[in-house]
Amino acid sequence: MELLSHDVLIVGGGLAGLRAAIEAKKSSRDVAILSKVHPLRSHSVAAQGGINAALGNAPAPSKDTWKNHAFDTIKGSDYLADQDAVEVMCREATERVVEMEHWGTLFSRTEDGKIAQRPFGGAGFPRACYAADRTGHNLLHTLYEQVTHLQIPVYEEWIALSLVVAEGRCVGVLGLHFFEGRIIPIQAKAVILATGGYGRIYLRSTNAVINTGRGCFLAYQAGVPLEDMEFVQFHPTSLWGTNILITEGARGEGGYLTNAKGERFMERYAPHLMELGPRDIVARGTQTEIDQGRGFEGGYVHLDLRHLGREKILNRLPGIRQIAIDFAGVDPILNPIPIQPAQHYSMGGIPTNADGETQLPGLFAAGECACVSVHGANRLGGNSLLETLVFGERAGRKAAEHADKTKEVPDQRAFQSHLREFQSGVKEILERKKEETSFAIRDEMKAAMTSWVGIFRNAPGLVSAKEKIKQLKKRFLKVGLKQKDLAFNHEFIQYWDLEGMLHLAEAIVEGALARKESRGSHFRVDFPNRDDEHWLRHTLAFKESEGAKLDYKEVTMTSYPPKERTY
């Protein structure tokens, strides 16, 4: 049996994974990254608007502080975020952002030559540091340049199929070399999951096609619960049709949202902040306009940037202008952009502390796949790019410490038996007679999630979704594959991903059905108010044979008691 070995193995090559690798690599440790695509193709590259830090570079009546940032984040989370973790993130923001600039990130600049910051939804100050509207691209390329400099090896186009757990610890993963079709165990003293979100469970998502939540499912299967899964962020402005992201920064620069009557409808939903309310409120407002017949035929509204002028658009929003031209045939300098809400971010994920530790020793998580929780029930724009760097760094550091302390080498037999068991499972799948196809089941799941577990939820819809997923899980066992070996077997990967997505969908639906209140992005039409007395707590979903079993966990509060949330 071929057995590879590293001190720290990071699954996922996006911002969080690369930042964790850079940190773990200090003191010349043996660190490796495993990614199913080349790191530069990770979805982080698509992030547009900005990364939050209280630098205070933008002209404002008073100086921004990390405490303001923390308050905005906690209020934005509808008071579900763990406040100690939020304070850590906001306190360390400046250091992480300045560090990226020192590594070469080409931020846009103020007149004084400092990093430029723009206003974003739900924020009291302009604190989203931006590189035109290609902030994710700039940050990811900078981190990959550092990874290149440090010569950290990457298992490119390998897929993590399973965690290996022995004696109550995570001791490695089973990796699939996709081009050669070989399953190879990789031993690691610490494994960091940084696999991003799972938007592709939905039909309409801004996420890349590759965002299937693999890391979340790896942990879930290994007995780790998933936290706050019902909190799914719907971004108000995705391009109508393709659902490619149009950054909140467009509204930050002054863009208007208008319905078919030409009204700036956000006046009805967030009279003070208008288009710059937090995302859950703007998404609900936009969807309501569409549902109540004030949208355009086909189900969209307009994002109007014409009044910003040609120069401002070319200077600060060139990326989204190109997206609108390429994918909707619209030049925002001349015409409004057709937009509709779409799934965008997963607030839920693998529960960790502020150092990225999960409840399984040896297993860490950071980035969108983790739930610390800093975003609670709703995430502010600009905080996701920030979380990848802050918690990527902290998880990398903690994982390295853990690796240093771990002296015992796990018994090779644990890997042998796990590999054998796994391979016989794969053989059984490959030999199955084909009665169903993965893609049909996948498409039905996506349609059900979008119809019944979207922006507006109610009990009958959620029950339908729960039933549907149960049926799909049964039909899934009848999926057979044409190709009988693993090399370049896309069908097999689709199948494997689909199993994970069905389970994640189930956890989302169960959490949403049980939570009889509305908070942040989880809106129940039948329970439209926030209920702090019964529901100021995190949901934990555990994998059981009949479905997801739920438990609950306290929210950590420091200095911010829950208040009414208006904008």
Partner: protein, 253 residues
């Protein structure tokens, strides 16, 4: 809505098969605003699960889906198939890179060249609390060269790379220029030395294919020409300074 059929003739490659290369023809029903990547994904789902190609963002920012369509190198996700309705589209892998499987090519040479130019900021030490100061105008100058998504299209279409696989290539020379003009990088002379070779700026044939085809409007040839000028200016300046020191020496005898 009128139903239209799209015909794709796709060049296949399997190392283990005999013959290794062949062409398969597929037909897909066109939907409004459909792009080529969607068409390929539907073929993979419904008709041939073995058809292999790379993809990720589907929004023309990640660089995964570069391929040759009707002789032109493009990103599949940004190629509208309505243009091909009623006609046949020829799909081939990105040229000048060895194929691994179907439309997936081996980009090792590409990334080897990337590593060769040491593409990370060699910055002057500065206070950890504050950022370097940079003028927005200067940022605007560097920006076109930073937008490269490393998709490989410029290499696939470059006659200099075709002639010499050791040629650093448009994307890497554009990145070389990106660090040269970044005031935070201290390597100025070193960078020009790397560029001042046949594998560097002097190998470029200034045909501007890369400038024309880059999906992100990066202008590698412009950066290459600017570096040539800088190199020549430095050479002239050093000749002048040597001549003038000789002159001073001889006149002091």
């Amino acid at each position: 809505m009128k139903s239209n059929l799209l015909t794709l003739r796709i060049k296949r490659f399997h190392k283990e098969r005999n013959p290794q290369r062949w062409i398969d023809t597929f037909q897909v029903e066109i939907r409004e605003r459909m792009n080529l990547l969607e068409a390929l994904l539907r073929i993979q789902d419904e008709q041939d699960g073995r058809l292999s190609f790379r993809y990720s963002c589907r929004g023309a920012v990640c660089g995964s889906c570069a391929m040759r369509v009707n002789g032109k190198d493009v990103l599949a996700c940004r190629t509208h198939v309505e243009d091909f309705s009623g006609k046949t589209a020829r799909i081939e892998p990105l040229p000048l890179f060895p194929p691994i499987r179907d439309l997936i090519v081996d980009l090792s040479t590409f990334f080897d060249h990337y590593r060769r130019i040491e593409p990370y900021l060699h910055g002057e030490p500065v206070s950890p609390q504050a950022e370097y100061l940079m003028e927005e105008e200067k940022r605007g100058e560097i920006d076109p060269y930073v937008n490269c998504i490393l998709c490989g299209i410029c290499f696939g279409t470059c006659p200099a790379f075709k002639k010499d696989p050791e040629f650093l290539g448009p994307a890497m020379l554009a990145k070389t220029y990106r660090f040269l003009v970044d005031p935070r990088d201290r390597r100025k002379d070193e960078i020009l030395m790397t560029a001042n070779t046949q594998q560097g700026v002097w190998g470029c044939k200034t045909v501007f294919n890369c400038v024309k085809l880059c999906p992100k409007e990066v202008p590698p040839t412009h950066g290459i020409v600017k570096m040539r000028r800088k190199i020549l200016r430095n050479r002239v300046a050093s000749i002048v300074s040597r001549l003038s020191s000789l002159f001073r020496h001889s006149s002091s005898i």
